[in-house]
């Protein structure tokens, strides 16, 4: 969507602060996905495709319900189905809506080299501005959840926008609007925490002792959260990371390496400059030429005695 600078609190590849006057005084937003209510109907996928005018390829069945099988430029959210058999033989079919988590500390934004291609709004939404995207894929590298995808068609990065266009005019995201079971809800992050607490209490009463909220602190919390029956084992849900953090490699790459690298280059050049000023060039003079000629004659004499 268009650049609305006053709503943007963070901007990729930008070393100075964004305008900070406008704050999220009515609270930051969050989408809560109650995995325990989700029936995997994919209505959210279809609503996403409809609202955003996306149409992926008609693919293949790969032996799973997951279709399309992966996130992509035309598929910003997909359902992931995981069959998990417990030690006692009981089975669970854990179905998770996958998509951007809208981290408070977004790895994509940190990794992005293009100024303003990735922004974070005051309400917490992390959005891609594809007109600034250069297609390098660093956002993919930076994301702890492996969410952004580079479109094969236009080489731009895409992911869930949390319907920032809808939210900006006071509507809920399309997936929330369409979810038939109420498994996806949307509101202020605070309200979503309260709603989740009720759900977790219900789940605990049904024997899910480890039910809990997935709002991982490692990325500063997320603006898309999950209610999980097994919050102690998020990996069961098609590999939801247990303690997602921005990879130390990415932190080094996009953290210390940047100023130190520039410093190193500047220092090297400056050292040369100082050397030139202080010690000066190393010139071949007449003395060297004479000595060389003498040496050459000597060598000639040795060769032809």
């Amino acid at each position: 969507m268009a650049l609305q600078s006053l709503d943007i609190v963070r901007r990729s590849a930008t070393t100075t602060p964004a305008p900070q006057a406008r704050g999220a005084h009515s609270g930051q937003v969050a989408k809560l996905i109650d995995v325990t209510k989700c029936i995997g109907c994919k209505a959210c996928q279809v609503a996403c495709m409809e609202w955003n005018d996306l149409r992926d390829e008609v693919g293949h069945c790969s032996g799973h319900f997951d279709n399309p099988p992966d996130l992509g430029g035309q598929s910003w959210t997909i359902m992931k189905f995981a069959e998990h058999e417990h030690a006692d033989g009981s089975l669970e079919w854990l179905i998770r809506k996958d998509g951007c988590m809208h981290c408070a500390d977004p790895g994509c934004l940190k990794a992005c080299p293009s100024p303003g291609a990735i922004v974070q709004y005051a309400n917490g939404i992390v959005d891609f501005h594809e007109e600034n995207c250069i297609g390098c894929g660093y956002c993919v590298t930076g994301c702890p959840f492996d969410v952004p995808r580079i479109s094969k068609h236009d080489r731009k990065a895409y992911k869930c926008t949390l319907c920032s266009d809808r939210v900006a005019v006071g509507q809920e995201p399309a997936c929330v609007k369409t979810c038939p079971t109420g498994a996806i809800v949307f509101g202020s992050k605070e309200d979503m925490h309260e709603h989740a607490a009720e759900r977790i209490e219900d789940l605990k009463s049904r024997g899910y002792a480890n039910a809990g909220l997935y709002d991982p602190a490692g990325v500063g919390g997320t603006h898309v959260m999950y209610v999980l029956h097994h919050a102690d084992q998020p990996e069961l849900y098609s590999g939801l990371p247990k303690n997602p953090v921005i990879s130390p490699f990415v932190s080094l790459w996009k953290g210390a390496a940047k100023p130190l690298g520039l410093l190193a280059i500047a220092a090297t050049a400056f050292a040369g400059f100082l050397h030139y000023i202080g010690i000066g060039p190393n010139r071949t003079d007449e003395h060297d030429e004479r000595e060389a000629e003498r040496e050459a004659q000597r060598l000639r004499a040795e060769e032809h005695p």
């Binding site: 325990t36 209510k37 989700c38 029936i39 995997g40 109907c41 994919k42 209505a43 996928q45 279809v46 495709m49 409809e50 149409r55 992926d56 390829e57 008609v58 693919g59 293949h60 069945c61 790969s62 032996g63 799973h64 319900f65 279709n67 399309p68 069959e83 058999e85 089975l91 669970e92 079919w93 854990l94 179905i95 038939p180 079971t181 109420g182 498994a183 009720e198 759900r199 219900d202 009463s205 049904r206």
Partner: protein, 809 residues
């Protein structure tokens, strides 16, 4: 549904069996999540597959397809043995105390009166014993060995938990856990709802499965109460309207029935349908049958229906037999039916045994299809390679494809599973040359009428005299038709009790079916819809979702048949004095003078409960039936019979009884018997079903749906896949006695091998949504595999249980 979608949130226990609501009814399923989240409800799913509903269930149990009567019959046995029944309810509101005729018997797996040659029953012994007063004899102590309670107990004594495990393959501990949870709703303060769909109807004993479920609900006192009921989840958005309006070969609108061949005069027709009470003081509402019937005939034939011509009774066809779809295709196959108009229907995909269907359709002289989409039926003569390999040159059928509007391109009411008639408005203009079904049928009718006028004919009267008083004869409006089926006064109507009081002026819309008369002074095209467009206007268009009592009935939202009633049999939610069994889920109550509350009483509005009328007013006995009398084809009590293609050599409940292996009264034709496979050749049990991502054979034409589920697959349990060396995602060949399909193997832990009668039974799942046309990848029509056999009552084909052989492709 006896109840309605929103009401599911009032349940304490939700049993999904014979259906997969999360998969096939995801929008309605929200009320299950509501019940779980806000009513602490427990969800039970019993299904051959661990499906999407099971994924959010509290308890799941696997079951062998087609054995639900054993599971539920065992439950009945268990409830009776442990006396976990709502005694006050069953004693007063059911026929448990009724005495059954001495001639009635059940022996060797068959009920009395079986005729093996005709494969049907003479049902005269299947009835209550009448006393000298003409009423049924009862024993309120339930001690009489011939009372329904004792017969019921005796019948289901064979259905032990061990038998359930042996026949259904469901582990005993799971059975016990589920039965105990269900039994917890025997108290008046707890309710269970049963949600079912084609997983029960599409069996050769489907109707009896549903009945068994209903009997469980009656024992637990769960019929007529908020959060209870027997809730059939309808598949098409207006399939409820289809049956309501009588679009079955033996029905008239409002569940009136066509006369049969023996009923050649009106009196003979009306007498058995105008049911007199079987117990004292009962309402026996079908006593009003003549009012409904005469009003229907006045609606159809107007001034041509008179008392003198018996309200045009002679215009109606008299059935020599049922003309269900299986019969129709059998007749086509025999060359006896040579033309077919196929309106909103894709039988080449939707009826069983595709090979037989193609043969049948190839023998037609003409076929007309009316559909918004290019259906497989309209293209059955085209060769589509391996997916549909026909010899086009040898098919002489002339096919007319008439494109029609779809629901969003027209105005009108749609009846949902909740029996709500919800008016909707046109959202878009139809594309191209598409016309409404009304336009097409009107054109056909007007041409036929003109032809009769011009050329005459053997009996032109029904066509010539059909009342057709619409502003635009070529395309009657939805409003006109709605007003017609609702009904109006033809003359000024006066109160019969006070002849000076004018109730309705001539031409005024009627408020309800209570105003219908049998003297030709009223017209109503469908008595159960009477009042939908009442004197105050179109009640179907109401959109007030206020719910003052909190029970969720929203009686000012649209209009629910009958009489805007939201929960059927709601009188049964109160005790005999009219006090609600559970005040927290009050639907109606007796205040000393009248009934009132959150719903329209299913009872006389001012009928004093002390008068003793029962709550099941449509039954002449005033109570609900455990003993079905002659209403079912197979017998008064549901008995388990194996599917026509069964992995078992005999029916474990009736060992050694060859006649009782399969439903002895099923809809089956002799020439189809050789097309049934045996377990030695086809060792795997298959069931067909639907996926959330698709709707029947329609949405494969839609890119969005095709994206979410692009390619045909079959679900195969991990154990069977191991045994056959099938890798997930590889291709498999699935064959039945009738044909072969190939699809991607989806190897899953969600289908477990079952131990049935001492041996391992593997079940596979065949989703139905692919075909040789559409935006999704082409696939085989799943009915290539399915057997041409149907339920004995509804004639619904057995799509849910058949035998196949699975191999690596």
């Amino acid at each position: 549904m006896t109840n309605h979608w929103v009401d599911i949130r009032n349940a304490d226990v939700v049993l999904i069996m014979g259906g997969n609501a999360a998969e096939a009814h995801p929008c309605g399923f929200k009320w299950v999540t509501e019940a779980k989240a806000h009513n602490k409800a427990k969800l039970i799913v019993v299904d051959p597959r661990f499906n999407r509903s099971a994924s959010v269930a509290d308890v799941y149990a696997p079951i062998r397809t087609g054995t639900d009567i054993v599971f539920l019959g065992g439950l009945i046995n268990d409830l009776l043995a442990s006396d976990r029944i709502q005694r006050e309810y069953v004693v007063n509101y059911t026929d448990l105390s009724f005495i059954v005729k001495d001639e009635f018997a059940f022996k060797d797996g068959l009920f009395s009166g079986y005729n093996a040659d005709k494969r049907n029953y003479s049902k005269s012994s299947w009835d209550y014993a009448l006393g000298d007063d003409g009423f049924v004899r009862t024993d309120p102590t339930l001690a009489d060995p011939r009372c329904v309670y004792q017969l019921l107990k005796q019948h289901y004594a064979r259905y032990t938990i061990e038998m359930v495990e042996r026949v259904c393959g469901t582990p005993k501990d799971k059975v016990r856990q589920i039965w105990d949870l269900i039994a917890s709703t025997a108290t008046p303060t707890r309710a269970m709802t049963i949600m079912y769909a084609l997983g029960w109807t599409q069996h050769s004993i489907g109707s009896q499965m549903i009945r068994t479920g209903a009997m469980v609900q009656l024992l637990l006192g769960n019929i007529g109460i908020a959060g209870g009921g027997m809730n059939a989840l309808r598949g098409h958005s207006n399939i409820q309207g289809l049956t309501d309006l009588g679009l079955m070969s033996n029905l008239l609108p409002g569940y009136l029935t066509l006369p049969n061949e023996a009923e050649q005069d009106l009196a003979t027709y009306l007498t058995p349908r105008t049911q007199k009470p079987l117990r004292p003081k009962q309402m026996s509402y079908w006593q009003n049958y003549p009012k409904f019937f005469v009003s229907l005939m006045k609606s159809w034939f107007g001034d041509a229906a008179t008392a003198e011509n018996n309200w045009a009774f002679d215009y109606l066809p008299k059935l020599d037999k049922a003309y269900d779809m299986l019969q129709a295709y059998e007749l086509m196959h025999q060359g006896k039916m040579t033309g077919y108009i196929c309106q909103g229907f894709n039988p080449i995909a939707a009826a069983p045994n595709k090979a037989k269907l193609v043969e049948s359709f190839s023998k037609l002289k003409f076929l007309v299809t009316m559909d918004p989409l290019a259906t497989e039926t309209s293209a059955f003569w085209q060769n589509h390679g391996v997916f549909h390999d026909v010899d086009t040159a040898n098919i002489r059928t002339e096919v007319f494809r008439l494109p029609t509007t779809c629901f969003a391109e027209e105005e009108g009411a749609v009846v949902n599973s909740s029996r709500w008639l919800q008016w909707h408005w046109k959202g878009a203009n139809p594309p191209g040359e598409a016309r409404s079904d009304i336009w097409i049928m009107s054109a056909l009718y007007l041409r036929l009428k003109a032809l009769y006028a011009k050329e005459g004919g053997a009996f032109p009267d029904p066509i010539a005299n059909l009342s057709w008083k619409y502003v635009h004869a070529a395309e009657p409006s939805a409003e006109e038709l709605a007003k017609e089926y609702s009904g109006r006064a033809l003359v000024d109507l006066y109160d019969p009790k006070d002849p000076t009081r004018l109730v309705r002026k001539a031409g005024e819309q009627l408020a309800g079916f209570a105003e219908l008369r049998d003297d030709g002074s009223t017209a109503s095209g469908c008595w159960i819809f009477c009042g939908a467009w009442g004197p105050s206007g179109n009640l179907m268009a109401r959109r007030d979702n206020s719910d003052p009592t909190g029970v969720g009935n929203t009686v000012n939202w649209a209009w629910s048949w009958p009489a805007n009633r939201r929960v059927l049999y709601n009188r049964a939610s109160c005790d005999v004095t009219g006090k609600p069994f559970d005040p927290k889920r009050t639907l109606i109550a007796w205040n000393g003078k009248a009934w009132g509350g959150a719903d329209i009483p299913d009872y006389g509005a001012a009928l004093d409960p002390a008068d003793g009328a029962g709550p099941f007013i449509m039954n002449p006995e005033g109570v609900a039936r455990f003993f079905a009398r002659g209403a079912m084809a197979e017998g008064p009590f549901p008995e388990h019979y194996e599917p026509f293609e069964t992995p078992l050599a005999e029916n474990p409940l009736n060992p050694g009884q060859a006649q009782a292996l399969n439903n002895p009264a099923a809809r089956v034709f002799k020439d189809d018997l050789p097309s049934f496979g045996k377990v030695d050749e086809f060792p795997h049990v298959a069931t067909t079903y639907r996926l959330t991502e698709h709707f029947h054979y329609w949405t494969k034409h839609v890119r969005l749906n095709a994206i979410t589920q692009p390619e045909q697959f079959v679900e195969i349990g991990a154990a069977l896949a191991d045994e056959l060396g099938i890798a997930n995602g590889s291709r498999v060949r699935v064959s039945s006695k009738r044909g072969v399909i190939e699809a991607v193997a989806m190897v899953t832990k969600r289908i477990k091998a079952l131990t049935v009668d001492g041996r391992t039974v593997h079940q596979i799942g065949v989703p139905i949504h692919w075909g040789f046309l559409g935006a999704a990848r082409p696939g085989y029509l799943a009915n290539t595999l399915t057997p041409f056999v149907g339920d004995g009552n509804t004639n619904t084909p057995e799509f849910k249980s058949f035998l196949v052989k699975v191999e690596r492709a």
